[in-house]
């Protein structure tokens, strides 16, 4: 009974850590450019599938992973350069369609060059699972939690301790003022897309041994990450992490105790309930809109 609960909690936190990373990527881009990037999920796909393809080509895993993540980073930068920056004065709806176009494009490329099959990455550790008081824990989950914690800490330090990070924060607060202070906001925005893609790709790699990876995993993961970010109030990093963990836990408990058929619906039900009652998300600031 308790071991069951413990196991659901553990898998919920694992899933939540992934959602949190996706949501952080959303938040980063949203803060920097007020764009909801519907192609965020594709970065996870590039990370996972890229690693698989490189390993198939004989590249050892410890080179394949960073290469695939770098590939996603380049894709992120190109996305900003080629699709977002040229449309700078577009409507919200238009920008959404552009990022959706980008996601279809990336998914299409992956399908053409990397195929439609599902692939699994090997576990990072040799032992697949450990038994802890009757609960079976996947060692990969520990990797996920550890790496997610490292990434979140590194991102936090980046924003508070480095000039570049502070420049990014300044740009997201007020782009015009930041550029008056000599910050090259164009380059900063590009960097935000790059970092966001790297975080997403890292999440895509670490989750691949558990959930498998294929050209189309980005849709659901991206949407759930978007929900996690919205639960946290779009724009709050702490909110994104909490939102991700909340989603992961809710999904794992639903799958365990209620119905695994409806686990994918859980995030969407939660977000609707929240939007009905708390229109600014859990931690969103009540910004006053200028007219």
């Amino acid at each position: 009974m308790f071991s069951e609960f413990f196991q659901f909690t553990f898998s919920g936190v694992t899933l939540g850590a992934i959602y949190a990373l996706v949501a952080l990527g959303f938040t980063l881009i949203y803060n920097a450019s007020h764009v909801i990037n519907f192609a965020q999920g594709e970065f996870l796909m590039i990370g996972g599938m890229g690693t698989v393809v490189l390993m198939d080509a004989g590249v050892p895993i410890y080179f394949a992973i960073p290469l695939a993540i770098a590939m996603a980073g380049v894709a992120g930068i190109l996305l900003h350069r080629l699709a977002i920056a040229p449309a700078k004065n577009a409507d919200v709806v238009t920008l959404i369609i552009i990022t959706i176009g980008a996601s279809i494009f990336l998914r299409g490329l992956a399908q053409v060059f990397w195929g439609k099959e599902y692939h699994a990455l090997p576990n990072f550790s040799a032992t697949e699972s450990i038994n802890l008081g009757g609960a079976i824990l996947l060692t990969q989950s520990l990797w996920i939690l550890g790496i997610a914690a490292v990434l979140v800490t590194a991102l936090g330090l980046f924003f508070t301790r480095t000039t570049l990070g502070k420049a990014l924060l300044a740009t997201s607060m007020n782009k015009d003022a930041a550029s008056l202070m000599g910050i090259k906001t164009g380059a900063i925005l590009m960097m935000a897309f790059g970092i966001s893609a790297v975080i997403g790709a890292a999440a895509g790699v670490i989750v691949a041994p558990i959930t498998l990876t294929s050209y189309d995993i980005g849709i659901m993961l991206g949407l759930k990450g978007f929900i996690a970010a919205a639960i946290g109030g779009l724009g709050s990093s702490t909110g994104a992490i909490l939102g991700g963990l909340l989603l992961g836990l809710a999904e794992a408990y639903t799958a365990g105790y209620i119905s695994s058929d409806y686990k994918d619906a859980v995030p969407f039900v939660i977000i609707l309930a929240i939007l009905f009652f708390l229109p600014n998300g859990l931690l969103g600031s009540r910004a006053v809109e200028r007219v």
Binding site: A83, V92, I97, I98, F105, I227, A265, G281
Partner: protein
């Protein structure tokens, strides 16, 4: 004495919609003569039904400026609703379609009331959520909906005659095929959709919507009950989707959960934005283009997604207003 009263501006604009409608009617009437085979008819029927949905969605997105990333849910509700009403309650198809549309209207009203207060990204999130939930429910309730395997739909019957795409019928002495009858129904649906939309745009509701698109707060200050109007147009656009969904089900005879998918919602909103927001004829053109693209790419099936994504991005980057409004502006500039 009364002859001296000048025509009010709204009256002038109201008459200006007939040239466009006449052109649409002529095109719809001429197309059957150009259609070579049933495959062409099939394509035209699907385009006409989808264009009807897009015309309705455009009222919400283009005119009122509210986004919906879940309209496929209403389309699917219309299709599954009418199919199940016929199957489970033995209603005839036309009343089932009307009843399904009423049900969808109530549903849209219930969910629209709380979510239309939301703005921008939160509204897109909420509509997206509704759409995905609808798709998951249809997929999982397989005892009722057939789940991923799909659901057979009874054919439409008109005046006691069952209408089959394989049958042949007699229209005032002229023999026509079932597919041709279906083209007539779909074209009629599109024409009425456009007529209704144009009337709506010219009505007080239409003016209120455009006002709230410009600035919701300014509209409120001017005394427009924006919440009420947004909800109304949301319900109307949902009913458009529901009716088209019902017709699609009766026409195809078989529906699958794909029609409720996020991808389908995206396709619908893409049509509106691609063709041109706030341009009723623009979204019809958008539908034609979007549904014809796959036909031209049949030789490159592999590349279909890549090209589709690329076209979407390029058009949106260079013509953020959509094809028709951008081109219309360019022509006007050249003319003047």
């Amino acid at each position: 004495m009364s002859e001296a009263i000048p025509q009010s501006p709204s009256r002038v604009r109201a008459t200006a919609k007939w040239p466009g409608l006449t052109v649409l009617a002529v095109i719809l009437l001429v197309l059957p003569f150009l259609a070579g085979n049933d495959y062409h008819y099939d394509l035209m029927i699907k385009i006409a039904l989808t264009a009807g949905v897009a015309v309705g969605l455009n009222l919400l997105v283009g005119y009122a400026g509210q986004i919906s990333l879940g309209h496929a849910a209403f389309y699917a509700a219309g299709a599954y609703g009418s199919a199940l009403l016929v199957q489970q309650f033995e209603l005839t198809p036309v009343p089932a379609m009307v009843l399904a549309a009423v049900g969808v209207a109530v549903l849209a009203w219930l969910v629209g009331k709380p979510i239309l207060h939301l703005k921008g990204h939160y509204l897109s999130m909420a509509t997206l959520g509704l759409g995905v939930i609808a798709a998951i429910v249809i997929n999982n309730e397989d005892q009722l909906t057939g789940g991923p395997d799909g659901l057979p739909v009874a054919p439409l019957s008109l005046f006691g005659h069952e209408l089959s795409v394989f049958g042949s019928y007699d229209l005032f002495g002229v023999a026509i095929t079932g597919t041709q009858v279906w083209y007539g129904i779909a074209a009629g649906f599109l024409f009425l959709s456009v007529l209704f939309a144009l009337n709506l745009i010219d009505s007080p509701l239409g003016r209120a919507l455009r006002a709230l698109h410009g600035s919701e707060i300014a509209a409120q200050v001017a005394g427009v009950d924006t919440g009420k109007f947004k909800l109304r147009v949301f319900v109307i656009s949902a009913v458009y989707a529901s009716l088209a969904g019902s017709l699609y089900g009766y026409y195809g005879g078989f529906i699958t959960p794909n029609i409720a998918s996020f991808t389908h919602s995206i396709e619908l909103i893409t049509i509106v934005v691609l063709g041109g927001m706030a341009s009723t004829y623009g979204v019809i053109l958008g539908t034609v283009i979007l549904l014809l693209i796959p036909q031209f790419l049949t030789g490159f099936q592999e590349l279909e997604m890549v090209l589709f994504g690329a076209i979407l991005m390029v058009v949106m980057i260079f013509m953020p207003r959509g094809l028709v409004p951008t081109l219309a502006r360019r022509f006007q500039k050249e003319a003047s």
